[in-house]
């Protein structure tokens, strides 16, 4: 604590710690919010739209924008060529021969990757022009899973790296091998943590302008830091940081870390503005956001514990593989390292072995998502705790009690310095107030009735205020020495008093709706003896004018501990200066002065009070009255960095965060055997986040994190097909729990103030994102009596875990196609045609009849024997897309077997289908049977995955129905099973 800045300690009953209503809400509730998209743009501002890859992996052979440029209203098209000329690849913490540019330059590596940008009078025209850009792709083999990416012979995303493993390190602390050798038990778990996100209501917005006179860029966007990425953007644009002005708007519709991922788009829009010679605005839409903004990093972990006979854990061994998408984008590989120093969790474990690998796949790059790095670690560690309790037949709270860290401060094996806490007390609070015994009784009763009821726990050490040096743990000590050490977490805030005594606060916290202005008003008001209403807080950040640091921004739960602390220090300096002036005027010792209700007086002598406004006014109106050497005017900027945050040491010990709170969660669920639905019977969350600055806002943070943790546990996943198609492009495909799905948690608090932050506060924003997925998963595993569970625990997954056998189909009804499944569009069908197999075969191989049976086929022309090019219209109902397609036939066994293949691209994405057609004589006609597999990627897969299988069936069946009609069958007699069957029972449909 930097007590030298102020001799003021907040009294226990001031504004700080009160549930003050949010000062932000009066504007928001009146519709007077100023969000990025609302900010008025200069006249002449143009709009843009991105062209994005429909392929997971392809070489870019040609991007021809001539036709798009000819469209009236189009001003410019930015492509990889411009990007190569005017910018540099983004720097990243791991040195590898791989390049990430703001637009794809020679290859696309994930569905949704931007490869061109159209600038036009309006977004409508820009979108129209996208349809006119001709791109020739050469598709390449892709990898979507960690297993595929690291397999021998896997397609490599970045050829010069030679592997998809782009970062790897192993660590050892204490004597893990000896601990495992001596342990009574070795208990392990394999987990995989899925791709998911926290979903802001507001998507990204960028407005950029280029000034030719000095080569500078001026940007307004809702990017929220970390502002270390400002340097990454400036380097990519090739300008000094001062010539990349970034301004943040007042209000935000949420970030949860994910707006970090805007930075490549900021660079792209800057270059577009340069090319168009006009300001350019881009507003990200929901599909763009879900498909191509970012994702939490998926992880596979093998975690093993050495456990003594009494349940004490003596060592942990982690093998972690992160899946980072197509590019390692800063701050990756940070997901692996944010928790690194704290990998032993809430437990006193002296021995630790770690192997970390970061792997690339053909998916959207990953990055900051609320909880960053925590859910991945705790899902493994806390699932393992449950496993240990089960295997040892031990009561869970007892297992926790035996392993918890007891004394603080505590230095964890890999370097984290836990500042304060009482973990056992927090657990006792949760169990006592949350009804542990009652829930156990409930479980017993439910199970006796044959119901599926389970209880789970999670204990989480919640880090806040990230050390800017933690990412460098990914480098060896020698590499770190070459790169120069990095450390600290500098926060800044400025408090000023104007000539009429009005107080303002600015801070580089870029809030995303958390209520920073409210808390800053509370702190500064209390320090200066004013009312929170008297304080004007402006948190718009202008990098050309305001104080900021590389650590600025809205991430790592750094506000309460760091930024609020910096504001407290700045206010304390103002107070000290005013007090000095008042003390002279009052002839009283400075330390005896009371600041209250806008007045300053010696303790016990309120009748002698001076007004705050009058004393403050001296600094502006009459500096001659000040003591010699006193600075005139009243404005103080405080910078604060936690002293406990050093660079990683030579033994790779790193304290990744300044403060460590604690969360203990208790969850009871009941699972419906029929539907697989998980119902949360009770959820209890006990928090110790040090001193609470505003309990109402703290509760808001817990509720928000809990809802997102619930989403990760039961609903949310960025699903990809094995074909590399992204399948979750709308909010009916990516399922975020709403108020209807989110139960009311029981929230409990205790306060162990941090000795390391100015106000004793710690972050509280991410704990439930870390604890809730594990607690719910533990409860479900307990209910089902299974060892392994995979997130999200959707009804479908739960039913699979239940593993009940399905009653077989009655005689006469067939099983569906064996290949049919959630990710593979495969099926089969048949149709009877009133013509001989020879005639059917001839029709199928005749271009003229082919043109009549392929849907919406026009301009069919041969390009080689049995190969054709055509325009084809595919779709269902009103949803239609015009594909430029190639169709190939191969006669495998005339006239009985042939293979039909089609491949095409449209604005809605790329499609490929391949099927085998078999013809058999059946009476006077032919029985045509077919089986096929289709791959659909791009927009239609992202927004239509719910319908894809049905649509593919319909399109394929339509081809053969038309063939039957063409060959003058009286009526195509397709025989789906339902019709046969409903005919038999007399039902109608």
């Amino acid at each position: 604590m930097q007590a030298s800045d102020t001799d003021f300690r907040p009294p226990p009953a001031g504004h700080i710690g009160q549930p003050l209503e949010r000062v932000e809400d009066a504007a928001l509730l009146r519709g007077a919010g100023r969000y990025a998209d609302d900010v008025a743009c200069r006249e002449g501002t143009l709009h843009c739209a991105f062209l994005r890859s429909p392929h997971p992996h392809a070489r870019l052979l040609e991007v021809d924008a001539r036709e798009a440029l000819a469209l009236p209203g189009v001003h410019a098209v930015l492509t990889g060529e411009d990007v190569l000329r005017w910018s540099s690849p983004f720097v990243v913490g791991v040195k590898q021969p791989m390049e990430h540019w703001c637009l794809a330059v020679d290859r696309v590596r994930y569905v949704g990757e931007p490869l061109a940008l159209v600038v036009a009078d309006s977004r409508y025209v820009a979108e129209d022009a996208l349809e006119l850009i001709r791109v020739r792709y050469e598709t390449l083999p892709h990898v979507v899973s960690i297993g595929d990416a690291i397999a021998a012979g896997a397609p490599v995303l970045h050829g010069k790296v030679g592997s998809n493993i782009v970062a790897e390190r192993s660590f050892r602390y204490g004597e893990p091998e000896a601990a495992f050798a001596a342990a009574a038990h070795r208990i392990g778990i394999d987990i995989s943590y899925p791709r998911n996100s926290c979903t802001p209501v507001e998507c990204g917005v960028v407005v950029a302008e280029y000034a030719e006179q000095d080569g500078s860029y001026d940007v307004l966007s809702n990017f929220m830091g970390p502002f270390s990425l400002h340097a990454v953007m400036a380097l990519a644009l090739g300008v000094p940081g001062t010539r990349l002005r970034h301004r943040s708007p007042r209000d935000s519709g949420g970030s949860f870390g994910v707006k970090q991922s805007l930075f490549p788009y900021i660079v792209a829009v800057c270059l577009a503005a340069r090319k168009a010679r006009a300001p350019v605005k881009w507003t990200e839409d929901r599909l763009e956001h879900l498909a191509a903004a970012t994702s939490a990093t998926a992880r596979q972990t093998r975690l093993e514990a050495a456990v003594a006979a009494d349940g004490r854990i003596t060592a942990l061994d982690y093998d972690q593989i992160d899946e980072c998408g197509a590019y390692l984008r800063a701050p990756e590989p940070a997901t692996l390292y944010r928790m690194h120093g704290a990998l032993t969790g809430a437990y006193a474990i002296a021995n630790l072995a770690v192997r970390n690998r970061s792997v690339l796949t053909n998916k959207t790059p990953t990055g900051l998502v609320r909880g960053f790095g925590g859910p991945q670690v705790y899902f493994a560690l806390e699932r393992l705790m449950q496993r240990i309790a089960a295997e040892l037949g031990m009561d869970l709270p007892e297992l926790y009690r035996r392993n918890f860290v007891r004394t603080f401060p505590y230095r964890a094996a890999a370097g984290a310095l836990y500042d304060s806490g009482d973990y056992a007390a927090a657990m006792s609070l949760a169990c006592a107030q949350g009804g542990w015994e009652e829930l156990r009784t409930r479980r017993q009763k439910a199970r006796a009735e044959g119901r599926l009821y389970g209880i789970g726990c999670a204990a989480v050490v919640e880090p806040s205020i990230s050390n800017m040096g933690y990412v460098s743990t990914a480098l060896t000590a020698a590499e770190r020495a070459r790169a120069g050490p990095k450390s600290g977490a500098i926060a800044t805030a400025t408090v000023g008093v104007d000539p009429l005594g009005a107080v303002s606060v600015i801070a580089a916290s870029t809030p995303a709706g958390q209520g920073h202005a409210t808390v800053l008003a509370q702190i500064v008001a209390e320090t200066l003896g004013l009312a929170p209403d008297d304080i004007t807080v402006n948190l718009e950040l202008d990098t050309q004018k305001d104080a900021w640091t590389v650590a600025s921004g809205n991430y790592s739960s750094r506000f309460a501990g760091a930024v609020a602390g910096a504001a407290f220090l700045a206010a304390g300096r103002i107070r000290a200066r005013i007090a000095g002036c008042a003390a002279r005027e009052l002839g009283a010792p400075q330390a005896e002065l009371v600041f209250a209700n806008g007045r300053i007086f010696p303790r016990g002598e309120p009748q002698r009070a001076l007004s705050f406004r009058r004393v403050a006014g001296v600094f502006h109106w009459s500096p001659a009255q000040l003591r010699a050497g006193e600075t005139p005017a009243l404005r103080e900027t405080a910078f604060w960095s936690p002293e406990s945050l050093a660079a990683p040491d030579d033994g790779d010990r790193i304290n990744p965060s300044a403060a460590y709170g604690f969360v203990f969660d208790l969850c009871a669920v009941e699972v419906d055997r029929d539907t697989g639905r998980v119902r949360i019977d009770r959820y209890v969350s006990a928090h110790d986040a040090g001193r609470l600055l505003n309990p109402m806002l703290a509760e808001g943070q817990i509720r928000g994190g809990f809802a997102q943790g619930l989403g990760a546990a039961l609903y949310e996943e960025f699903a990809y097909s094995t074909d590399g198609a992204f399948l979750a492009g709308t909010l009916v495909d990516y399922l975020v729990p709403t108020a209807c799905e989110t139960p009311d948690p029981v929230i409990l608090h205790m306060e162990s103030p941090s000795p390391l932050t100015p106000l004793g506060a710690k972050g509280i924003g991410e704990g439930n994102n870390m604890s809730t997925p594990a607690a719910i998963a533990n409860a479900v595993a307990d209910a089902l009596g299974v060892r392994d569970v995979t997130l999200p625990l959707t009804p479908q997954r739960v039913l699979e875990l239940l593993g009940e056998a399905e009653p077989p189909p009655p005689a006469g009804l067939r099983q569906p196609h064996p290949a049919a499944g959630t990710n593979v569009l495969a099926a089969e069908g048949s149709v009877t045609i009133a013509a001989s197999p020879e005639a059917v075969f001839a029709a199928l191989t005749d271009p003229q009849s082919l043109a009549r049976i392929i849907p919406g086929c026009s301009g069919l022309q041969g390009i080689a024997p049995d190969r054709y090019r055509a325009e084809v219209v595919l779709g269902v109902g009103p949803v239609k897309a015009r594909y430029t397609a190639e169709i190939a036939l191969s006669a495998l066994q005339p006239p009985h077997v042939l293979c039909l293949e089609g491949r095409g691209e449209s604005m809605l994405g790329a499609a490929h289908g391949k099927g085998t057609v078999r013809l058999e004589a059946a009476g006077a006609g032919t029985r045509l049977s077919y089986d096929y597999r289709t791959e659909v990627t791009g927009k239609i897969a992202a927004v239509g995955s719910r319908m894809l299988e049905g649509a593919a069936r319909g399109v394929i069946a339509g081809i053969f129905d038309r063939l039957a009609v063409l060959l003058q069958a009286p009526a195509p007699e397709r025989a789906p099973w339902w019709r046969r069957w409903t005919g038999r029972t007399g039902g109608g449909a």
């Binding site: 209807c740 049919a820 299988e949």
Partner: protein
Amino acid sequence: MDGADGGWCVKPPVFDYLRVDTVDEAVELLAKYGEDARVLAGGQSLLPMLNMRLAQPRVLIDITRCAGLDRISAGGALEVGAAVTQAALERRGTLQAESPLLARALPHISHFQVRSRGTVCGSIAHAEPSAELPLVLAALNGSVSLRSRKGRRELGAGAFFTGMLATARRADELVEAVRFPLAGQGERQGFSEFSLRHGDFAVVALAASVTPARIRLAVGGVDDRPRVVEWPRLSGSALDDGLNELAWSLDARNDPHASARQRRQLVRRLGRELIGVLCA
């Protein structure tokens, strides 16, 4: 949304918007534009498709102000005009007595904001295989009144729904009204739905009508259109067998959220529960 500078966050392709005051004008325009036109009523499915450019009609014909289309009348059936919103039908005071099935199904349609705009006929014309209203129409053996310049025709639900987002409506026809038969004496109706979240499309939805003589069960969300079966009053293992046969007979879909197998299970389990209640 700030239209002035062209920076709208919605971005459909260019189309002509034509608002008509009479059904005659509407069918004139449909005759003229055919496949190039889409009828706009509540827009709850059409507008998202336009904004994502999944559908690119040249003309939208807004029928919401056509005289007479906002009427609900009850003769032998509950006749609902093309401009009647789902919310208006839901609010009808006599609905519970006239059609308990509709009264139970309507609250399952998305969220109230969507029902305030979305129309009954629009949902039926859209023929989304998981939607509640096509299912109810099929379960009740209701009908669709189609109007074109050439005249009117009435199609039963079974003939109207032809596939995923596909119906027997011709390009020049307007779905002018739909008719839900009123509940008969001694008829019990029930509805059951499993969706992943409140207001989501049904993974499986079941609508049933039971009389002393028969069970009629309709299944939505599984096949490419609502499917209906009629049974005598099955119970016990005969009912289980019937439901199992029904589940397997449907061409059940897989999607990222629910497998065909899960859908079959839901047909069996929810079906048994629903019919059990109605037959009790």
